[in-house]
Symmetry: C2
């Protein structure tokens, strides 16, 4: 039911075209998994997202775990039935959210701010700033729910058990995600734990034709650890790979990490770069052989009134657009650009109308999926570097 | 370009079927104008609302006046072009919002709470609770913007000037809307001012084939005032009538007011009951000869997690729906009921997902417009009272 094959390699880089078949449809790679954290996309139906070009969606296990809603999903027979969609779905392991509760709060590291809403962080009964809510043991992670305050335990076994209940096409192994501020010693320890957990995940996964699992490579920003982790995870019978954890402190570090990692992985298996998705990162990663991404940037930017365009990103709340009759992007073929002016979008965003966010999300998702189409076409025609140069002149 | 004719009268009541033609399409009456306060419907495109059955939309002039955004709309050539829609639009005069700032704040009367967001009401520089921000003169109303604090002035002349710029198909005269707590003497004074303003509005409107204007009947809950106002407004060359102001303290008072008012109006002109729209009010008003409504209930209920159904209103956030595989309303033919379970909606609403509100809005608007279709069919078949009895058994 599942297969992955490389259909074309770029002549000038390690970029590659691939075709990932799942029981719910095909995914042309390189591609972006559209994030539907809690089982819906911000302001857009799955059906419409699919029409805009989305091949696959990423849903976060954590948000069906902490509230036990996976038990409801079980009664429906999995996420596809619960959400009533027929497209390929991925779930992550829940680990990223849990560990973010730990180091994210302790080290006050950026991304956490986006995972849990301010109202949760403000709750006085779980004063989390500077505190680590997470206790890590060899068999799993104990943590306090940021929603209920309840003590919860997540392990390789129950992450996989829940992901099997959720029935996503592609699932991810449960790993320990470390902070960019973690020491070498700690990152090594966490990596070793991730490796033990990878084996436990495969055991818990067993044999099934309904789902495939990606193993996750850790090792932080350390060359030897990344290489050890790549070799170890590559030695296990995962269907594909996720590149997780800290990718260093600068955008250049991402390239270094991928250069250490990707050459050691079976080139016939798909590689997913977890949670990364700025335009320049996408090009750099594809150039080095990444096939899949998931990233909330199209929706997060929309929330911040920002749209992609071939003139660069634009903030439509800026007063310079208040009477601008042009579309967001004059070259864009999306329904928003065909129908609405920047002035109308400016008005909606200034007035905090929900519809303004909906239109920006629709445009941003169309735009970035269209960029992925262009990337695939450029690889087909050996013009990837030309497209990269053009786009990075706008987005760096 | 505009016409209105009665196509059928119910044999048992004063309910009537009508056809209102506008340059942007026809409106079958009785009908509900879908509220798009600031130029968008909460969580729904105009196009989709039209597909759900919406014939006409109500936009609030106030929200294009206080921020001078009507000047932008002017550059586009009117709301239809600014919003890029081809359907009939109504605008109100702005009066309701302004006077709500006055008596609404002073008397702390209900509806105001819904007009301005809490963040506005919380602003310390305009401490409005118990204060009247509005000064009423014979030539218009001076008030402080609840958004900017700026002093603004709205008059019959500039309300009509702005409504002519906005270019809605149907516009409303500028009236003084009084509080349900106003005395007889004050209500009379305000009614007299409304009458003077009605003439000023007609003068400012002049001759045009692009728009028509409805005059507004005031007089509060007082029989003699309502009758005087009906006769006076009926004597002027308005295209139709709006029934405005306080309709008394109970639902029964609405019927009394309509019984005083409607028999005195030219029966060949359309009658719009402003801002009313609970299911029982709709039936009672149509029974007495009302043709048009505008009401935010479908979207406001959605915001409060509540859906219409033929089993009565249901709150989908209630835990009793958490694993319910049935649709919101098993008899409903909308896309939401065809595709989604109460359990999925419950999940989305519990998790505060925007998509949950979008789905509820879609269902509620379809459902209530479908109810209007049934009402029209019932009038055609002289079965209006039967339908009324059936629906009021559910919605009272």
């Amino acid at each position: 039911m599942f297969s992955f094959r490389i259909t074309k390699k770029d002549k000038n880089t390690k970029a590659r075209l691939g075709l990932l078949l799942t029981p719910h449809g095909k995914i042309n790679t390189p591609n972006l998994s559209i994030v539907a954290t809690k089982g819906s996309i911000r302001g857009l139906s799955f059906e419409k997202a699919h029409k805009l070009g989305a091949d696959v969606f990423m849903i976060n296990t954590f948000h069906f775990f902490h509230n036990e809603r996976y038990k409801i999903v079980k009664k429906f027979g999995g996420l596809h039935k619960f959400l009533n969609i027929k497209y390929p779905i991925m779930t992550d392991s829940g680990g990223f959210q849990v560990f973010s509760l730990g180091f994210g709060m302790e080290h006050n590291v950026g991304k956490v701010a986006d995972i849990f809403p301010q109202e949760i962080k403000n709750k006085q009964n779980i004063n989390i700033k500077g505190k680590n809510l997470v206790k890590i043991y060899d068999d799993g992670v104990e943590f306090s729910s940021p929603y209920s305050g309840n003590k919860l335990f997540l392990s390789p076994e129950n992450s996989i058990k829940i992901q099997k209940i959720l029935q996503a096409d592609i699932i991810f192994a449960f790993d320990e995600c470390t902070s960019p501020l973690a020491t070498y010693e700690y990152t090594k320890l966490a990596m070793q734990r991730t490796h033990k957990w990878a084996i436990k995940c495969l055991d818990a996964f067993g044999k099934t034709k309904k789902q495939v699992m990606f193993g996750i490579i850790q090792g932080g920003e350390y060359e030897d650890l990344r290489k050890i982790s790549s070799q170890f995870i590559n030695s296990l019978p995962f269907f594909g790979f996720g590149i997780g954890g800290s990718l260093g402190k600068s955008k250049n570090d991402i390239k270094k990490v991928l250069n250490w990692t990707l050459p050691l992985l079976d080139s016939n298996k798909p590689r997913h770069l977890l949670g990364i998705g700025e335009i320049d990162d996408i090009f750099n990663a594809i150039e080095l052989g990444i096939d899949l991404f998931d990233c909330v940037i199209p929706t997060r930017w929309a929330r911040h009134n920002t749209a992609f365009s071939y003139q660069g990103r634009i903030n439509l709340k800026s007063s310079k657009y208040k009477s601008d009759k042009k579309p967001i992007d004059i070259t864009c073929q999306c329904e928003v650009c065909k129908n609405y002016s920047r002035a109308y979008l400016h008005h909606l965003l200034k007035e905090k109308e929900m519809y303004g966010i909906m239109l920006l999300v629709e445009h941003n998702i169309f735009w970035i999926l269209n960029l992925f189409k262009k990337i695939r076409l450029s690889i087909k025609n050996n013009q990837f570097l030309m497209l990269k140069k053009k786009m990075l002149a706008i987005y760096t």
